[in-house]
Symmetry: C2
Subunit: 326 residues, 2 copies
């Protein structure tokens, strides 16, 4: 038996803050067309695919900041993407900055910003929505640094949990960038039987402020390792896709990859530009792991996992008092 | 600053059920001496290091089964190991079958069997104890199979949780075999600030009953990947050590490895026999990860991790009812 989904990862080269939405949309549509040409049913685009990674700058003017956000999905700016994908019968994962209107505790409507992703089916319907839970970076402006990482300032932590959903003949999950390094999120999806995980990312390839740091090679290795390890331990396919290259002075790793439920890399991008990878993902290959090695019902012992939900940070064991002289 | 611990992994070739305890003890002592010669302070031995992997057989005679167990640690059988290690000022991790005496709910003393490991410091004191939580295999005899995997029958699930402890200048944790594939255990240790994880294993290299199965290469890859991924995501060193080779007709993978907090393999065994690997593990290299990327206090969101403790097995999202005709 087999349930094959031809998946594509559409890595994007850098967007610039000087690019028009039209320029970026044209590149995305070219990636959709290239993916469809290779027979893909589902294409994964990066995190914040429609803009530059704007949390690298400190905006005091709210209007400047909000220009990066989507007030609805779809909206006139992205309608061409939705239209072309539906014509091509191509589903997609899209990362974007979301401007939501939500009621607070007092019932007052408020505008809230999220780092979000949606999955759209081959008929153009939004079938899944996710808001990034693991926001990295800082809340406050860090003086003296040319480049910031202000995700914690510009975005509210995702409030949807890790909601798996059905589509493309399988059970899908979404993560965004830093989320892929957190086994908790993967496991929450694994506990819903996920067999295809979709991930977009923007990950620094060097410290743009000139500090010492890990090499781009090591950072790319980490990005791939996190996906391989978690895909294996949850017996799921994963498509993990970068925005890459030198983006407005901030370097971003590439290494977009399609990983099997056996943890092996099936396809990986070689450039830092717009590049498509495609693979036939047989979702039934997830069954062996789910029924044997990672049969959760047979082998998990949640009574010993309490720390995972009962504490946030690490609590080290006490230092023993010095032994009494003997 | 640096806190360097020279760690060794002492992979063992197969034990046979026909080997005397003395024969096995002599090989272990040779491995201790070889590790000490290379300047190691701490050597990791495999799971069930003192015996063959006896859960591959069905024992109806309790005495035959109990012959594989240690009624106390140390005991006269293993005293030479403790003595020689203390002489060499060499700490060690040792996996063994434990026969414990514990009171049940009614206060009655009972004999309970665990798959256990201890860590002993350079002065010969037991400083840590662990009982395997993730027991694989089956509880019941499976008719028609020459080789069984009866860990769930012969052992009780570990009841000590994941207890980190201090030693060798760091914070240590222990896992046993299958545990290394479960991110929950790693995270429970990570949440105690572990910077050196000790693991012994016996993992099949093929299906001894002649069924189709994964190649030894893929199984070794999985063993290494699980350690790399979890070491990286918890920013800890890990020493993961096999009993390897053809053991009484059951094949066991090798691939014993020392992995850094950056997820990279620093040393790895090349044979399926008795073999020592050594590495200078600088525990301070764990700090970068713990303070930045994996600063748990800053970035974890336990309010979304509830499934990890609230359910054991996977619960799939409902299948949507067929859409009404439009």
């Amino acid at each position: 038996m087999s349930r094959i989904v031809r998946v594509a990862g559409a890595q994007m080269g850098p967007n610039s803050k000087y690019d028009s939405r039209k320029q970026i949309m044209d590149r995305i549509i070219a990636l959709l067309e290239g993916s469809a040409k290779q027979g893909a049913e589902l294409v994964v685009l990066p995190e914040l695919a429609l803009t530059t990674f704007f949390p690298r700058w400190f905006y005091q003017n709210e209007d400047e900041l909000l220009a990066f956000f989507e007030p609805a999905m779809p909206n006139p700016n992205v309608q061409p993407l939705f239209d072309r994908a539906r014509e091509l019968k191509l589903g997609f994962y899209l990362g974007f900055a979301e401007l939501a209107r939500e009621k607070d505790e007092t019932g007052t409507l408020k505008t809230i910003r999220y780092n979000s992703a949606i999955t759209v089916d081959r008929a153009g319907r939004v079938i899944g929505k996710y808001r990034k839970v693991h926001l990295p970076g800082s809340t406050d402006f860090r003086p003296g640094l040319t480049y910031q990482q202000l995700e914690k300032r510009y975005f509210t932590y995702g409030n949807l949990g890790f909601p798996a959903f059905r589509g493309f003949g399988g059970i899908l999950g979404m993560l965004i960038c830093n989320d892929r390094r957190w086994p908790e999120g993967w496991r929450c999806y694994g506990l819903q039987g996920v067999d295809l995980m979709l991930i977009g990312y923007n990950s620094a390839s060097f410290d743009p402020n000139g500090g010492e740091g890990e090499s781009a090679e090591l950072r790319t290795f980490h990005s791939t390792l996190a996906v391989q390890g978690n895909a294996y331990m949850n017996s799921t396919w994963a498509v993990s896709v970068a925005k890459a290259g030198n983006e407005d002075g901030g370097g971003l790793i590439g290494g977009s990859c399609i990983v099997g439920p056996d943890g092996q890399v099936k396809a990986q991008c070689k450039t830092l530009g717009d590049e498509i990878i495609v693979h036939d993902a047989d979702l039934d290959l997830c069954k062996q792991g789910k029924e044997k090695m990672f049969n959760f019902a047979a082998h998990r012992r949640p009574q010993h996992y309490g720390r995972i939900v009962e504490q946030v940070g690490a609590i080290e064991p006490p230092v023993a008092p010095p032994a009494a002289a003997e």
